[in-house]
Symmetry: C2
Subunit: 193 residues, 2 copies
DNA sequence: GTCTACCCTTAAACTATCTTAAGCCTATTT
DNA sequence: AAATAGGCTTAAGATAGTTTAAGGGTAGAC
């Protein structure tokens, strides 16, 4: 049962009691997602926090020229959602899509509110989760304003070895904010050193 | 009394009761900061969440060539801290410095823990604060991987009019991830349209 | 099994951004 | 009042990154 993966994950933050586990088991939604299937589409409201049990997903925006820009990947034990749309209940400008066949767990807003109100522990857990996501994002932004493409690529390889093996380079380029052609040049330069 | 500014600020999230206000009044530290004074220096641990009552501050990193890269500004009613260093208690790689003479309020870790343990409301408040900071940062990152310097500058002007008036362009350039000279060119191009 | 769509690479020409250097202006320090 | 440091602009030459186009490889679709 894949909800157990989430319970184990939460346990790494704070141990859960049986009532808390029970609430998760009865309320969390399990979904099997095919490659290229959407978890969230632009113009819809993001209704769930999604936790990836297996597989890999990406969140991206499409610009006025139709180009995709990857904001985030999420593989095993990572969260993915448009948190702005989720809380405001306004239409999202982002897409979330499976890169590999995936199993995800979803928590909708009523469930999240239920968890917060009945088990204050979850407020702490999700505060820490979002703090960690914030730190990660801030580091990435700093990289983007202070480093060139080669440095950003090397740092991506170092920080996400489990992703760089699995992802096509087109996806990595979109994440780094460069074209696939230029990533190819960057890789060639690195190889020649 | 400037702690009242913070109380009013929290009130906009959730009303506080008198015990909660009292705890803030007795525990929050008030500081007057001169222009160019440091609130946090690289190699120190970030020991406080800082709330700007008046004035303006910036957080930046210094790269291997000695260049500064602005990660965040914080003016009236905004928070600034190296949240990674604060929680891990590891040495920060960042600096926080006043751009204008400022008054700030500081919450240290024992106080924050006290607030979380005695008033669960604060866990919710800070979760929402950090969620909002996360959304803002994610939008900025998206801009950085998908837009050129002119688009990023225009969007900065639109989103932070209260800052763009007060900041020297060198600081804005460092925030956008471009050189001051190139920002000058960008501004000229915009003016000529 | 064949086919198609996607992925990766290369190169040439183009555009965006940086570097260096200089000059001017204004606020602050002496 | 003079001196200095910081901030803004301009321009020329250098480097980083994009665009377009083409060719070859490979995995999933039929």
């Amino acid at each position: 049962m894949s909800v157990e993966n989430l319970i184990t994950y939460f346990h790494n933050y704070v141990p859960l009691n049986s009532k808390e586990k029970e609430d998760l088991r009865t309320r969390v939604i399990v979904k099997k997602i095919k490659r290229r299937q959407f978890i969230l589409q632009e113009h819809d409201v993001c209704r769930h926090y999604s936790f990836v049990v297996s597989g890999c997903t990406k969140m991206y925006s499409i610009d006025k020229n139709g180009a995709e820009h990857n904001i985030q990947f999420a593989a095993e034990n990572e969260w993915i959602m448009d948190i702005g749309s989720f809380h405001s209940e306004r239409k999202s400008l982002l897409n979330i899509e499976a890169i590999e066949p995936s199993v995800i767990l979803q928590i909708d807003k009523p469930t999240l509110i239920h968890l917060y109100q009945n088990h204050p522990k979850f407020c702490r857990i999700f505060r820490v989760i979002i703090e960690n996501k914030f730190i990660e994002l801030q580091n990435r932004l700093l990289q983007n304003i202070s480093s060139n493409a080669e440095e950003r690529y090397l740092s991506f390889l170092e920080q996400y070895p489990h992703l760089s093996n699995r992802l096509p380079n087109t996806q990595v380029a979109s994440y780094l904010g460069i074209t696939p052609e230029f990533l190819s040049v960057v890789r060639k330069n690195i190889a020649q050193k």
